[in-house]
């Protein structure tokens, strides 16, 4: 498949002989200025950007929607808090997520069935497996996974989201067993919880330190387990479609939902996952056809893309 070819090219890039990509100074020449919301993706400690508050000394440096002292992340949390009630309104601000959901689930189902060796025609292929949905929001992803038989834990840092998710999950007996926690990936790591598959869809672009975040995701995965991460590519096309068109022209998303500089390119994602002992096996993109109004999976990873990786066996 073409995406495998793409992945082998990415792996070539991430080998240590290509110094130009590893040098963070090359990628973020302006990292010490607040003009760009720059996030270091290497795990070496960076001096704080001029003008922002010093980060706290405790170990919550890469949360999901977490309340850390950096004012930027408070803003992210507040953004989501404000529209929390509309999570399950299929015509509201989360409509693009609802419309895209079946497509992402198709990718997840196909890759995870193959990973765990399950029958793809079974109605509940993930029976007996433990999944965690990091940044679950209102539970849009957790509920279908539970219906597919998985034992799902959904976590989110915004309390309102967890409440909404719990209420909605209780409406259907098939999903009322989902465990929702208002917590962070780091806290779960401290509790030493392990899961067969860790999913973080559309979360990593809202996180302060993606490298640390990936390390937490990896710590939550059992050895040989699966990881699924989806996000938006930091490309010109993504700026045009996901920000200009989606937020300003079509008003699909509230203005300011995404920051272009927080996006990750597929190469960067593969690199930081590799440093967190996760090898990316497959990658696919989502494309939207405006004529039919449908999303579909494709090899085009220039805007939205999703990656499936496996935790290296220790």
């Amino acid at each position: 498949m073409a995406s495998k070819l793409l992945l082998s090219q990415l792996r070539n890039i991430t080998r240590p002989t290509h110094h130009r990509l590893i040098n963070p100074n090359f990628i973020f020449p302006l990292k010490n200025q607040t003009l760009i919301h720059s996030r270091p993706y290497s795990d070496a400690p960076q001096p704080p950007p001029v003008g922002s508050k010093p980060p706290p000394t405790n170990a919550d440096s890469a949360p999901t929607h977490k309340k850390i002292s950096s004012s930027l992340n408070q803003a992210e949390l507040a953004k989501f808090s404000a529209i929390a009630e509309t999570w399950w309104d299929a015509e509201g601000p989360f409509k693009p997520l609802h419309v895209m959901n079946p497509t992402r689930l198709a990718f997840i189902r196909s890759t995870l069935c193959r990973h765990f060796g399950k029958d793809p025609y079974s109605a509940k292929p993930f029976e007996g497996l433990k999944f965690v949905d990091v940044g679950c929001g209102g539970g849009i992803l957790s509920e279908p996974l539970a219906r597919m038989g998985a034992t799902v834990t959904g976590i989110d840092a915004v309390e309102k989201n967890i409440n909404i998710a719990r209420l909605h999950a209780d409406l259907d007996p098939g999903t009322s067993s989902i465990e929702y926690l208002c917590t962070t990936a780091e806290t779960l790591v401290e509790e030493q919880r392990k899961f067969d598959a860790v999913l973080a869809l559309e979360v990593i672009e809202h996180v302060a330190e993606p490298a640390e975040f990936c390390k937490s995701l990896s710590a939550l995965t059992v050895s040989g387990g699966a990881n699924v991460i989806s996000t938006i590519n930091r490309s010109m096309r993504a700026y045009a479609t996901a920000i200009v068109v989606a937020e300003y022209l079509l008003h699909w998303l509230p203005k300011g939902t995404h920051e272009w500089s927080s996006f990750l390119t597929p190469e960067e994602l593969v690199l930081i996952l590799q440093r967190a002992s996760i090898s990316v096996q497959e990658m696919a993109g989502f494309v939207y056809n405006p004529l039919t109004g449908k999303w579909s999976l494709s090899d085009d990873i220039s805007v939205n893309f999703i990656a499936y990786g496996t935790k290296n066996i220790e």
Binding site: N101, A123, L145, L167, P173, S176
Partner: protein, 501 residues
């Protein structure tokens, strides 16, 4: 009822359950609100929950149930079928010596492959069924005719004529042979309530019980059940459609149809249709020298023809099929169609067949039934947790034998959409999923309905120039082979549109 007696014996904690039971069997809606709070606590203990509740166990409803039972992704779904027809629970089989029922349907090749895919066609083959591979269409003016043949499109058959009860029984047998969880409720649907899930007001007690967002159906015999998805397959006067508040568009045709079974002299694998001034008469072969007659005419004539004695009726039928009402068309043999001679090179084999007179009808083999005809289309096929299929969503004129085939197409499409929904773990009653079914079927159904309505209107006017136009159309279709092939493929259910495809 036994359950109520058992409940009275147990201590008073259970009085809430007996309250729920009386609440269910009470058909008056106004008690719903006052008992709502008490019903919450003991929500689903004794009220069964189903994934799909199919209201109406006719051919299309059973086809949906059978299709769900035959796919691995949907085999596990709990299905309830609600229909008060005692034939569904009866275990007696249809005997071969039975006189053929006048209610028959022509199933298209697309429907036949749908049945084969479900494993139900083998049951149909055990009973009387008749394939036909040719068709002749002409009208009372005698100016032209068209002959269709399955060989024109390289197929073996144009369709198969099967009695409705055979189709229904075959689907039921197919389902029973598979180990799917289904229950037949021999009763009628009285009322349906859909709990609105309101997350904004978290104190809404109904939305916090496990079945808070399911549809609740109350049946006429007092039973109650919950379902994630309610399928309305209950015919043109659909109760489900009324309860869901879906409005319809349509009009009555000023015509009724007489249906009966007749016997004739020789068998043929040909279907015949002649357009008369008042409406078309169709002769469909059923096998064993039997044929089915569908004769459309205005209501007064229909009442007369139904009440007249057998000999007179048979004479009227033979006249209608033969040379009463107008002359036979001239057979086009070698030199005909001068203007269209340049198209001869690409001719279909049926274009050179001569005009044939249909077989002579000798005996009436069943009662004559009369049905009013109308066009009806529901404005929406879906509503929250409710979906309509078959005649509940659309009815058409029988002049092309497409009505039930559209319904089977709906059942096929809906079962595929449900399977896709289960594959990605969605709630099968979700509007976004159901809307996919609607967008797929609405376009196809509306196209077919428009074409059939056009035909009906074109043939209802007896006006010289229009007659000539119609004759030219007959000629054109007979000799322009791409057009004929497209029409055959479209009527067989294999193509979306007769042109532009």
């Amino acid at each position: 009822m036994n359950r109520a007696i058992v409940r009275r014996i147990t201590p008073s904690i259970r009085t809430w359950r007996s309250t729920l039971k009386t609440f269910c069997s009470d058909t008056s809606e106004k008690l719903h609100g006052s008992h709502g709070d008490k019903a919450v606590t003991d929500s689903t203990d004794n009220v069964p929950q189903y994934d799909v509740a199919i209201v109406g166990g006719g051919m299309v409803g059973m086809a949906l149930a059978c299709s769900l039972a035959s796919m691995p992704l949907t085999k596990h779904l709990n299905v309830a079928i609600i229909d008060s027809n005692p034939a569904l629970l009866a275990r007696d089989s249809i005997k071969k010596e039975d006189a053929p029922d006048p209610r028959v349907s022509t199933v298209t090749p697309a429907t036949i492959s749908f049945f084969k895919g479900m494993g139900a066609w083998q049951y149909v083959q055990l009973h009387r069924h008749a394939f036909f591979d040719r068709m002749q269409v002409w009208d009372y003016t005698g100016l032209a005719y068209t002959r269709y043949s399955a060989r024109d499109v390289g197929k073996a058959v144009l369709g198969c004529v099967v009695e409705n009860k055979v189709l229904q029984r075959s689907l039921l047998s197919c389902m029973e042979d598979s180990d799917v969880k289904k229950k037949i409720y021999p009763s009628r649907l009285n009322s349906m309530t859909l709990h609105k899930s309101s997350l904004i007001s978290g104190t809404d007690s109904i939305s916090s019980k496990p079945s808070g967002s399911l549809a609740k159906l109350n049946l006429s015999n007092g039973d109650c059940l919950y379902a994630k998805l309610v399928v309305g397959a209950d015919g043109s006067k659909s109760h489900v459609r009324n309860l869901a508040g879906i409005s319809t568009t349509g009009w009555k045709y000023p015509q009724n149809a007489i249906i009966c079974t007749v016997e004739h002299t020789e068998d043929s694998r040909c279907a015949w249709q002649r357009f008369l001034r008042t409406g078309p008469i169709a002769l469909l072969p059923m096998g064993d020298n039997y044929s089915n007659i569908v004769w459309t005419m205005d209501p007064q004539q229909a009442a007369d023809r139904r009440s007249m004695n057998e000999t007179d009726f048979l004479k009227a039928v033979n006249d209608a099929l033969d040379d009463g009402h107008g002359p036979h068309p001239q057979s086009e043999r070698m030199g005909g169609g001068g203007i269209l001679a340049w198209l001869r090179s690409d001719e279909t084999s049926s274009a050179s067949e001569p005009f044939e007179v249909p077989p002579r009808i000798t005996k009436l083999a069943s009662d004559r039934m009369v049905f009013p005809l109308s066009l009806m289309h529901a404005n929406n096929y879906v509503s929250k947790r409710v979906v309509l299929i078959g005649d509940a969503a659309h009815t058409v004129h029988p002049l092309a034998g497409q009505g039930v085939n559209l319904g089977f197409g709906d059942a096929n499409s809906l079962s595929k959409v449900i399977a896709e929904g289960v594959a990605v773990g969605s709630d099968i009653g979700e509007m976004t999923l159901l809307k996919r079914y609607e967008s797929e079927r609405k376009a196809a159904n509306i196209a077919m309905m428009a074409i059939l309505d056009g035909f009906q209107k074109a043939y209802s006017i007896d006006f010289g120039p229009l007659n000539v136009l119609r004759a030219a159309a007959f000629h054109g279709v007979n000799y322009i082979s791409p057009l004929k092939k497209n029409i055959i493929s479209y009527a067989s259910g294999e193509q979306r549109l007769p042109i532009f495809t």
